[in-house]
Amino acid sequence: MADRYPDYDVLAKSDTLSWNPVTRKVIAERMATAEPDILSPEQHATLRRLIERIVPQPDNRPPVNTVALLLHRIMANRPDGYRHHRLPPLREAWTIGLAAIDAEAQARHGQPFALLSNREADDLLRAIEASETQAEAWQDFPPALFWSWRLIPDIVSAYYAHPSAWSAMGFGGPASPRGYVRLLANRRDPWEAREEGNHHGA
């Protein structure tokens, strides 16, 4: 779908009153986050391909470093405050999960996940989502739970932590100390995104 907010970039506000110093700092650090070397090359490739399928990059905007952000999270292995009793802690869950996704690709197509076509990859992901996997690797590792408690929330949370993703959805972004004045429908402040083809506001 075409970008609804083609002339909007939330980063254009980073030097304005909408961003306080601590916000500037954490967002700059996030955007500069590189990919740590914590997985085997095969697992790294699996994760990269998985992320491409779950959260495709926005068109015509700087890419989101989802892989780096998620790898940092896996490395930190910080709990989220609730762990499903059938899943291991974060880092272990990801390590087992990535290996299981690859094993599933091997079982179905005799190839690693990273080399599957888009359609093959998506069909395989739908099988995980529906708990219809074939590989041994899922024996003690419930695929649908891994999907809904770990894979999906972790990936979408990393992607939607990035300014490119905010700009593409017309989100106002950081807003402190300056917030908003116009709260009613079809009204926007001058520092909010203009939606293409919509002539309301400002």
Partner: protein, 519 residues
Amino acid sequence: MRSYSETEAVDFVIVGTGAGGGTLAARLAEAGFSVIAMDAGPYWRPLEDFASDETHQEKLYWTDERIVDGEHPIKLGSNNSGKSVGGSTVHFAMVSLRFRPEHFKARTKLGYGADWPVDWREMWRYYAEVEDALKIAGPVRYPWGPHRGRYPYRAHPLNAAAEYLARGAEALGIDWTETPLATLSAPRGKAHPCVYRGFCVTGCSTNAKQSVLVTWLPRALAAGAEIRDLAMVGQIETKNGRVTGVQYHREGEWRFQPARNVIVAGYAIETPRLLLNSANGEFPNGLANSSGLVGKNLMVQLNQAVWGIVEDEVRSYKGPPSLAISEHWNYEDRGKDYFGGWSYMSQGPLPITWARTLSGGRGLWGQALIDEMARVNHSVGLKMVGEVLPDERNRVTLADECDQYGLRIPRVTFAFRDNEKAMIRHALDFMDQSLAATGATERWQESDDTCHLNGTARMGNDPATSVVNSDCRSWDIPNLWICDGSIFPTVGGVNPSLTIQAMACRTADRILLANHEAS
């Protein structure tokens, strides 16, 4: 800030500085007691420390490991509890509601759950005290329940999302109102009014939000209380049937603080966990647990929603997330095939929360997710806060694993029963009709979200069926008190923080009274 030594017992050690503990710290210090309020979390300075960012602000949440199981394992984290001085109120959504009077006597008046051992009129006096302490911004006339006085500050304006709630309610012929909120609608001292930045549930960086951190705790400090942050209490010690103080972990070591009284206010998971982890030779089943009820009757609240798409640009990221509310189904019992009540409010999810909602609740991923996310400025939603009935099978126990302090972690077991399922059906259907009446299309139902935690150390009139008495004093140990979300016998259909603070004010008065009588 005053600081007390570890060589002398203080009058009160309070464990936790949230809605229950922070309020008590202020009220007891003001009454002249020596008070140390400990919190496992840090003492933030929001103006300097808080970013406008969902991910960074995860630092406010209780994310220590907890195991969840049962038929509907609950998702905790951001949505349920905080680990900060000020407790969960540092990132709460500020909705400040009173219980319907009959809900304090659900068993005798409405035939379900359990009665509270307090009279609603007394609670309403304490509600008024808390509303004034927080300068709640609310409507001129509240449509439901007995008459209440004017809210201290005028209501906030509606945002577009709230207007959709209002239009739907009017179309269905029920009342709605501006939500009473704990954020300033006018200046207060040095604090500016709310700037409608919309990041409330990740912490308010302008201090407009009237959390415990900016209301009760400054009062506590002014009255000479010590707030000891980054202090994780691992065990309450006892001798000859009385508590003697707390073992707590701070700056890498275990320490002991003696106290004449201990008040536990760690919220409905950490409170029973601490009482159970404090089991000793005298109290082998944990403290205050002769009834066996510590940890049992955990009640979350139902947090299901209906979402849809509208032509208008709604941009619900602006303003506090829930500016309009209907409590109709808290006060109307006819037409229900279940017990209990619920309210519903307008919504304003931030990007990560919304992405998790769409991917988790609707199964969207890939380009379908990205495209739907791009329509967020045209989406509107209504979300319920619904009553869960007490059930002993929903509970907090100790798991075998230990956390970073070497303490056994909690296991939280939860399932919805038939009553909850019937309430969810009714609420989703009603909220769908309400959205439909505003012209929203492509409506869908988010069916499994929960919020709030209550009930694992309930109060009552009978030591066999409750953990604390009507003064929030434990039945088993006379100088051990519990005063937080755990003491709720029932939860009603409103967010709990105002009731917790009102109960804390009442408890402070009861302690004072008992003290006068003793001396």
